[in-house]
């Protein structure tokens, strides 16, 4: 193996000549890190559980057309009564800010001087059954909550970990402005915006149809029997339009909503990925060109090394070794940038995603530079000392 100290010395003494290559590899590192972190992030998120079951669930989107709360509630109950009459419908739930929508209602909750920002979701008593949401502590909303002293809320595990990492959250009260909320249940994680997103801190408030002050949901999540198809959807919409005089209704399956959410991310990822790969390929070609030029520039040196005892494989190793050392310099500079970004912006990326992306990027950079150095190294190893030593 080539002497590393000698290689370092050679590279250091040629630092001006190598600067261009170091900058090129550094740029590739940064561009690649941005691309890789997106892909790794999506891969991590996708591999984690969704927290609910979207299959055989239809979303009836309701536009209330600004009717009064009273009329809206009456009309909502008429729709619900109609839904109950269909044997194809297993269950349904009135809700607002449902999964696979990009809507975000951010509220702040205070507890012991700590303020937690969270996404507020509204759901009635059937919601957990319809979406098959698992509870890890306590229970879901039910009729018993009609008489509770404080408004009941349900949080997710991430919310709980932020406020009560080591103790049960059940029965704890939270303050939201002047209102007191009592935690009655903790659900497992739930990805509100779909598979390609991280878990957020979620807080559920109850939609209580018997309470005139309660919010009116703008969605009815309808769980249908397996195999229920488009014919039923048409029949259902016809019937609902007869009972609903003021609302505008639109039906979409949650599978379609999921598909749309995916398309939104994947099309952005494709464009972004294409641009990044284009940049990296350009940089790789540039690197290849610089390395090739350097080999021609160094024919005398390589010839000399072969003359004084280097074998062709050792020349090959030397050029690859030099390129990898140059990559290391660039990676060190690049690492300084991305690690500082991680330190400065604490929620820039989840730590596991950050480090996986970092190591994947480092691996790819070494791989790209080794591939770029492969052919020039081969050319260098093929240099015949007899051809190069007689003239300069």
């Amino acid at each position: 193996m080539m002497n590393f100290r000698h290689l370092f010395k050679l590279i250091w003494n040629r630092r001006k000549m190598n600067l261009l290559m170091i900058i090129e590899i550094f740029i590739s590192f940064i561009v690649l890190f941005i691309l890789v972190q997106s892909l790794v992030k999506f891969a991590f998120y996708y591999s984690e559980q969704l927290g609910f079951n979207y299959k055989n669930v239809w979303n009836l989107e309701i536009n209330t057309n600004n009717v009064s709360d009273e009329i809206g509630r009456q009309e909502m109950e008429l729709i619900k009564n109609e839904l109950r009459s269909f044997p194809e419908i297993v269950n349904f739930s009135e809700a607002f800010n449902i999964p696979y929508t990009s809507l975000s209602i951010t509220t702040n909750i205070d507890y012991n001087g700590k303020t937690i920002s969270n996404n507020l979701l509204l759901a009635d008593d059937n919601y957990a059954d319809v979406l098959e949401i698992e509870l890890v502590e306590g229970r879901w909303f039910n009729e018993a909550d009609n008489a509770s002293a404080h408004e009941p809320v349900i949080i997710n595990k991430k919310f709980k970990e932020a406020l009560f990492p080591d103790v049960s959250a059940i029965g704890k009260t939270l303050q939201q402005k002047e209102n007191i909320r009592e935690i009655i249940g903790v659900i497992d994680q739930i990805k509100k915006r779909g598979e390609l997103n991280d878990y957020g801190k979620i807080l559920f408030k109850r939609i209580n149809p018997h309470n005139p002050k309660s919010w009116l949901g703008e969605n009815l999540l309808i769980k249908v029997k397996v195999g229920t198809g488009i014919e039923f959807e048409e029949k259902l919409m016809r019937r609902l339009s007869l009972v609903s005089k003021n609302f505008s209704l639109e039906m979409i399956s949650m599978e379609d909503m999921r598909e749309r959410a995916f398309t939104k991310y994947t099309s952005v990822a494709y464009i972004f990925g294409f641009v990044c790969i284009f940049l990296v390929v350009n940089v790789a070609l540039g690197l290849f060109g610089v390395l090739w030029y350097n080999i021609n520039f160094r024919r005398s040196e390589i010839g000399l090394r072969r003359t004084v005892g280097s074998t062709a494989p050792k020349i090959y190793q030397q050029i690859i070794g030099e390129t990898l050392i140059l990559s290391t310099f660039s990676i060190i500079i690049g690492s300084f940038f991305v690690l500082n970004l991680k330190i400065l912006i604490t929620n820039f990326l989840r730590t596991d995603i950050f480090y996986t992306s970092y190591f994947v990027t480092v691996f790819i950079i070494y791989l790209i530079t080794a591939i770029c150095a492969f052919y020039p190294s081969k050319l260098a190893a093929e240099i015949e000392p007899a051809e190069t030593m007689h003239y300069e």
Binding site: V308, G309, A312, M389
Partner: protein, 221 residues
């Protein structure tokens, strides 16, 4: 020490065939200082390359210390070049981005030696060629004569038994040329190093023990 037996060297392309060496028989004894002379293009450097195992003959046999090297692969040839042969070239072939000391150490990089040993040996030979005060200098800071002395130091740092010098004074003025010649003579006499030198300079050649003359690739008397 070096034996060439009926050596031919022909360079072939698709359309042209050029004979560089024809029927060369040559034996160089241990401790001998030999010079090779002849007009440009007569095959002097080709002959030196074959003796130095940098090139292979088209036919004929080459022996180094009774070892027939014709069948040797790259690794074995590289080892012989590294252990037994030192090379000095007209244009020095120093690496400009390495210091004098680092340039001299290069042949030792291909041996299993510690950094300390390499440095020690390099300093020793630099003292022999009178460049102890220039170890940290870079080639561009040296005169032509000093560069060639560095090249000689590099050639002898591995204690080779043979030195092959291809017009070592060709780029130097007469005073510096004489200095280099003195160093080579001294090496030959004191260390019993076998030296084969290609030169155009008859005065230098006359100082050696034997002169081989080449013309159009053939050895002439």
């Amino acid at each position: 020490m070096i034996k060439l037996n009926v050596v031919d060297k022909v360079y072939r392309t698709d359309t042209i065939e050029t004979t560089a060496l024809k029927n060369i028989n040559l034996q160089v004894e241990k401790g001998e200082f030999l010079s090779i002379m002849g007009p440009s293009g007569c095959g002097k450097s080709t002959l030196l390359n074959i003796m130095g195992l940098l090139d292979k003959p088209s036919s004929g046999k080459v022996k180094i210390e009774e070892l027939e090297v014709g069948t040797f692969g790259d690794r074995k040839l590289a080892k012989i070049r590294n252990r037994k042969i030192g090379f000095v070239f007209q244009s020095f072939h120093l690496i400009n981005d390495l210091s004098v000391l680092d340039n001299v150490e290069i042949p030792l990089l291909y041996r299993r030696l510690s950094g300390k040993e390499r440095k020690g040996r390099a300093l020793e030979v630099l003292e022999k060629v009178g460049l102890s005060a220039r170890v940290k200098h870079f080639p561009r800071q040296l005169s032509g004569g000093q560069c060639q002395r560095v090249a000689i130091a590099r050639a002898i740092v591995g204690n080779p038994e043979i030195i092959l010098a291809d017009e070592p004074t060709g780029n130097l003025d007469s005073v510096m040329g004489a200095e280099i010649m003195d160093i080579l003579m001294k090496l030959n006499k004191e260390a019993n190093t076998t030296i084969v030198m290609v030169t155009h300079d008859i005065h230098l050649a006359e100082q050696t023990q034997r002169i081989i003359r080449l013309f159009d690739g053939s050895q002439v008397m």
